[in-house]
């Protein structure tokens, strides 16, 4: 399993003592998750998703993003949460991953962009023998709030 390896990150502010990273904070129910901004290509509003038959249930289908056909998955279903409830706040985040190409993930809402210093992020370690895929590889502290940092490779990997 490779999910425990944190992805290589670039310091954004060379002057500060710690490296800083920028995350987009998204909401799934009441929980907040952070997605490293450098993998995000685009954030689009919910649109018609064309269903693709005979694929895993978390794969909702494909959308047309400016002439490109892009697969979209439900982050909720992938993480084995309740099914999405489409609201006005629902967004599709288009990720560009080296290994998996471009994919979109559906989230309940996009909240904000935060900048976290590396000392504000706590690594999470798991027992490698555990069967369940761990989607979180760190916890960021932003003021009083906690943000779970998503491991995008674990999200994108096919079960």
């Amino acid at each position: 399993m490779e999910e425990l390896k944190t992805v290589e990150m670039n310091p954004l502010d060379e002057n500060s003592e710690y490296e800083t990273f920028q995350y987009i904070v998204i909401k799934l129910g009441s929980e907040q998750y952070g997605i490293d901004i450098k993998y995000i290509d685009n954030i689009v509003r919910m649109q018609h998703i064309t269903r693709v038959p005979k694929v895993a249930d978390y794969l909702k289908g494909v959308i047309n993003l400016r002439g490109e056909v892009i697969p979209v998955m439900s982050l909720r279903l992938k993480m084995e949460l309740e099914a999405d409830e489409i609201t006005k706040a629902t967004r599709i985040i288009i990720l560009k991953l080296e290994q998996h190409g471009t994919i979109g993930i559906m989230v309940d809402a996009v909240k904000e962009v935060v900048t976290l210093r590396s000392d504000e992020i706590e690594k999470v370690t798991y027992d490698a023998k555990e069967d369940k895929i761990n989607f979180v590889n760190g916890i960021g502290k932003n003021g009083n709030e906690l943000i779970s940092i998503l491991d995008l490779n674990a999200v994108a990997i096919e079960k």
Binding site: T50, V52, P53, V55, L59, V62, N64, H100
Partner: protein, 690 residues
């Protein structure tokens, strides 16, 4: 001269020449006396040599040069074509291809001199006792003058080829009582400014002689585009000794060899009058040295690695058509603009323009596709040669018959199809064909036949690889599959013959009893299959025990844009490629019969299984069960099937977009397309459904 800009053309042309040579040499082996073939070979080898020379690829040039000498002997009828000779020539072609690949990848020809091949070629030349050997024999006669070394290979001036005009000038000079010498000068390999030394040699020679011909050319020498030696043909009143003395007096010269240049006998009759040219010529050859600038050489090496793109050679007519269409497109756009600004214009004028625009874009698409199409010839041409090699290696007699080489396919497909085809051919040669002995026992002709046939079938191109060998031993395959635990004993009993044969495409399967370096590593057929599937094609095999097997590859004509029928199933839109559709039928529910628990319809004498798309696609049909069914009859090879849809939307030209590897698991969906309203519709793969 900056040759980098010509690199692409050079590579393309060299490839063409190599293919041509391969094909022609094969023919030469069969018809050693055919003058046309020999001439063709000679021409190809000659232009290749010229090109390599111009581009500064010395090793390539040397090799082609020696090959050319051999061809010239064959052409003159002084050398007989033997199987050995053909083998050697093929090895030379392989070496040349290697140079070419090296050039493509690294922009230089590599360092392999292929001395072994060259000396082999020279042995043939010596054995023939003529041609190059003639000047060599004359060399010893002059041995007294041409100090010590009389090794033909070093006296490169003997290799200089002269044009007719030069020969006539030389003849004139000779008739005028002058001496004609050949010189080869070797510069010390530690010499720093080769061009400058060469210049000094030129100067020394010109004090007492006129330089007629120089190899490499004066220009190349000036640009330092030569290794360590260069050769000259000179006209002089002086003795050879004096000239050599003058040359050797230049420092950093290792060796200077020389001899009397014998004019070819055939030229003797051509006593030509023009003496003026005799004066001009040496001048022309001599002038560049006045501006000798050795420093120039440096900038050539600085230029980085050229990126050689894949190219398609386009018929100029096709480009003209494209150009016309584009101008029409502009006109259509302009009329649309004016129609939209002109308020009085009626709606009908607008529609007219849109129709016009549509026809232009359709034509434009077709023409662009045509530009991308290349005949599969470029791929299959190397196969006769391969079969010949295999025949020797396997010690089986076989013959390859090809047809339909002119069939055109998209360039991307043509580039990819070579390996799978090669694999199938090797399989046919190694596993398919029996040994001559077995064949004799079975009463078959001793020479096995392999057929490679390509033809267009609707929207597909079909390539068949057929052999008249033993066919596939179904029992052996079954046993092997059980041994390898690909299937269980029980499974094997319920499997049809066809299913068992299809096991051959299973990864890690090889029935060959012994592994040869030709086939049988067990990584073959599954790779073939996946390659062809990645090209949206399919592969099928038919086999009859004792009579041979046929491998059928079916490929789509073009990849990007297709005509499709849009249908609606349970409220969702799907596209079915028009190429696979036979007819569309309206069927009442009571016409559906059950055969072996499968739904079929009886249509014009044939029983056709029907597939309810709503079930395949996991969606509720929007039609009531008692309503008439819309059945789209599709064809895959010889099989028909009826697809039940809810509604037909109509025919449309669609652009195929890949679903990406992320959703590639769904076999019945071959891709997606974007409709006019921006919605994504999936493309059904009728072949996968059947």
């Amino acid at each position: 001269m900056d040759v980098n800009q010509y690199l692409e053309i050079f590579l393309d042309e060299t490839k063409e020449h190599l293919e041509n040579l391969n094909a022609q040499i094969l023919r030469l082996e069969q018809e050693p006396e055919d003058v046309d073939t020999i001439n063709e070979i000679f021409r190809a080898a000659h232009s290749m040599k010229g090109m390599a020379g111009t581009m500064g690829y010395k090793r390539m040039q040397t090799l082609t040069h020696d090959m050319e000498n051999v061809f010239s002997e064959i052409r003159n009828g002084t050398m007989k074509v033997s199987s050995d000779l053909i083998d050697t020539l093929f090895q030379c072609l392989d070496a040349l291809e290697e140079y070419n690949n090296n050039i493509q990848e690294e922009a230089n020809e590599g360092t392999n001199d292929n001395q072994a091949l060259i000396s082999k070629l020279n042995n043939y030349l010596k054995a023939s006792g003529k041609g190059e050997a003639v000047p060599k024999e004359s060399a010893p006669a002059e041995a007294a003058v041409s100090s010590a070394v009389s090794d033909g290979a070093e006296e490169k001036w003997q290799d200089i080829k002269l044009g007719e005009s030069e020969l006539s000038v030389l003849q004139a000079a000779k008739d005028g009582g002058k001496n004609i010498y050949g010189l080869t000068v070797f510069i010390n390999e530690n010499c720093f400014l080769k061009a400058a030394r060469a210049f000094l040699v030129y100067k020394a020679v010109e004090e007492s002689a006129e330089i007629m011909v120089s190899n490499p050319s004066a220009q190349d020498i000036e640009d330092e585009k030569f290794e360590l030696d260069f050769s000259l043909i000179i006209i002089s009143d002086d003795t050879l000794d004096n000239i050599l003395q003058a040359v050797r007096s230049v420092s950093e010269i290792d060796k200077a060899l020389g001899g009397v240049y014998e004019l070819p006998a055939a030229q003797d009759t051509e006593v030509v009058e023009i003496v003026e040219t005799a004066e001009q010529k040496p001048e022309a050859a001599g002038t560049p040295q006045n501006q000798a600038a050795p420093a120039k050489a440096a900038d050539k090496k600085g230029s980085g690695k050229p990126v050689v793109n894949r190219t398609v050679r386009v018929d100029i007519e096709k480009l003209d058509v494209l150009m016309n269409l584009v101008s029409e497109l502009i006109i259509a756009k302009n009329s649309l603009v004016s129609a939209s600004t002109d308020e009085r214009s009626s709606n009908s004028g607008f529609n007219e323009q849109i129709e016009y625009l549509e026809s232009v874009t359709t034509n434009l698409h077709e023409s662009v596709m045509k530009v991308r199409m290349v005949p599969i010839e470029s791929v299959v041409n190397k196969f006769p040669r391969m079969i010949r090699d295999l025949s020797k290696k396997l010690d089986k007699k076989m013959e390859l018959y090809m047809s339909g080489e002119e069939t055109e396919l998209d360039r991307t497909v043509v580039d990819e199809i070579g390996d799978p085809l090669m694999h199938l051919l090797r399989n046919a040669a190694d596993h398919g064909l029996e040994s001559a002995e077995v064949r004799r026992q079975k009463g078959k002709p001793e020479v096995g036949s392999i057929f490679l046939e390509a033809y267009q079938d609707g929207n597909n191109v079909v390539i068949e690889v057929r052999d008249d060998g033993g066919g596939i031993d179904v029992e052996a395959v079954k046993q092997k599959a059980i041994d390898r635990e690909i299937i269980t004993q029980e499974q094997s009993e319920s499997m049809s013959e066809k299913d068992i044969i299809n096991l051959l495409f299973h990864a890690g399967f090889s029935t060959s009893k012994k592994i040869t370096d030709i086939s049988g590593r067990g990584v073959g057929l599954d790779v073939v299959k996946s390659k062809i599937e990645s090209l949206s094609g399919e592969v099928e095999v038919k086999s009859k025990m004792g009579e041979g097997s046929t491998w059928i590859i079916r490929l789509p004509l073009t990849l990007a844009i297709i005509q499709a029928l849009m249908v609606i199933v349970g409220g969702e839109k799907y596209a079915i490629s028009l190429g696979s559709i036979q007819t569309i039928e309206d069927v009442s529910p009571d016409e559906i019969k059950l055969v072996q628990n499968r739904e079929v319809i009886h249509l014009r004498g044939s029983v056709i299984p029907i597939i309810r798309l709503s079930e395949e696609l996991d969606i509720e049909s929007s039609k009531a069960p008692d309503e008439n069914l819309v059945v789209v009859i599709v064809k895959k090879g010889e099989n028909l099937a009826g697809l039940v849809v809810d509604e037909l939307m109509g025919q449309q030209e669609i652009v195929i977009k890949s679903l990406g590897k992320y959703i590639s698991k769904c076999k019945i969906i071959s891709g997606a397309t974007i409709l006019g309203d921006g919605e994504v519709a999936l493309i059904l793969d009728a072949n996968a459904l059947i």
